[in-house]
């Protein structure tokens, strides 16, 4: 299965997607187990408050991975992502309820490079605030 999108299909400004994802406490626990990051601020209310946080916060890396799904789903093959970098600009506080915290992810093609590669810029927000800055993925298209 080649990537679903080809280089010629896209232009600078092409929107690759616009989705919302919810992160619940159970997702944070699952991510802690899968990633090996057991910092208690990501699952223990008491530890989070002792660290001066308003409550349990999502792993930055979970937010980064979740936002990256917009790119890998668009490309089809996750192996098409050759570079992915973000700056963490704001915390995602995850309430102890069934809905969790909602993050919105929008992606747009920012640049077309040589060799069939494109740079996708992601805008990732939680409650209106940008939680990632300079979130960019370079994708190898066919």
């Amino acid at each position: 299965m080649p990537p679903a999108i080809t280089y010629d299909d896209v232009d600078v400004g092409t929107v690759i997607g616009d989705r919302t994802f919810s992160l619940r406490r159970s997702d944070l626990v699952r991510y802690a187990g899968a990633s090996g990051d057991f910092n208690p601020i990501h699952w223990n209310e008491r530890a989070a408050r002792e660290a001066g946080l308003p409550g349990v916060v999502a792993h930055g890396m979970l937010t980064m991975a979740t936002a990256g799904r917009l790119v890998t789903d668009w490309a089809g093959d996750p192996g098409a992502v050759v570079e992915y970098g973000v700056k963490f600009s704001s915390l995602v506080v995850v309430p102890d309820d069934d809905e969790g915290a909602e993050i919105s992810v929008q992606g747009i093609v920012e640049k077309k490079l040589d060799g069939g590669r494109v740079v996708v810029n992601l805008t990732v927000r939680h409650q209106g605030a940008k939680v990632l800055m300079a979130a960019r993925a370079t994708v190898q298209l066919g």
């Binding site: 930055g60 980064m64 979740t66 799904r69 890998t72 192996g79 570079e83 992915y84 993925a137």
Partner: protein
């Protein structure tokens, strides 16, 4: 307490290679709610041209030893993790990482510099196959809040 600049430039190499496992890729994908068949179905991955299940783009964070990949937990560095927030993360993949890969991880504390009242620690990583192929690189920046030396 400012961080110990003597650590800048030090490198650490993992004692044993980190083996990328199928079940670990599936577990990581499930943890981010990702049901892309290439993470779960070996036949689908092979049909897409991969030798085995490809890893998600941020999967290599699991291969970084220690807290957020700092090359040392040595108390002499003076890092207080309750003051640390993750500043920046980047991965460059020279080829897709797939299940079965065995990667040697080399971490280097690249710099410690003051930014206002905070200090910024930058660690870089190289992920090399056991046959010496540079498979991926990474960079992690940590912010140590309020520890910058007074001017």
């Amino acid at each position: 307490m400012p961080l110990n600049q003597d650590f800048v430039g030090r490198s650490y190499t993992s004692d044993v290679p980190f083996q990328i496992g199928r079940e670990h890729i599936r577990q990581f994908a499930r943890a981010v709610g990702d049901d892309n068949p290439l993470y779960h179905d070996v036949e689908a991955a092979k049909a897409a041209g991969h030798a085995d299940l490809p890893a998600p783009p941020t999967f290599l964070v699991t291969a970084i030893p220690g807290n957020l990949g700092l090359p040392t937990d040595d108390p002499a560095l003076g890092l207080d993790y309750t003051l640390v927030v993750h500043g920046e993360q980047r991965f460059t993949l020279h080829r897709p990482v797939v299940a079965g890969d065995e990667l040697v991880v080399r971490s280097t504390l690249a710099s410690i510099r003051s930014v206002g009242r905070n200090e910024l620690l930058v660690t870089s990583y190289e992920f090399t196959s056991t046959s010496g192929e540079l498979v991926a690189e990474g960079t992690c920046s940590l912010v140590s809040r309020g520890t910058a030396p007074p001017r």
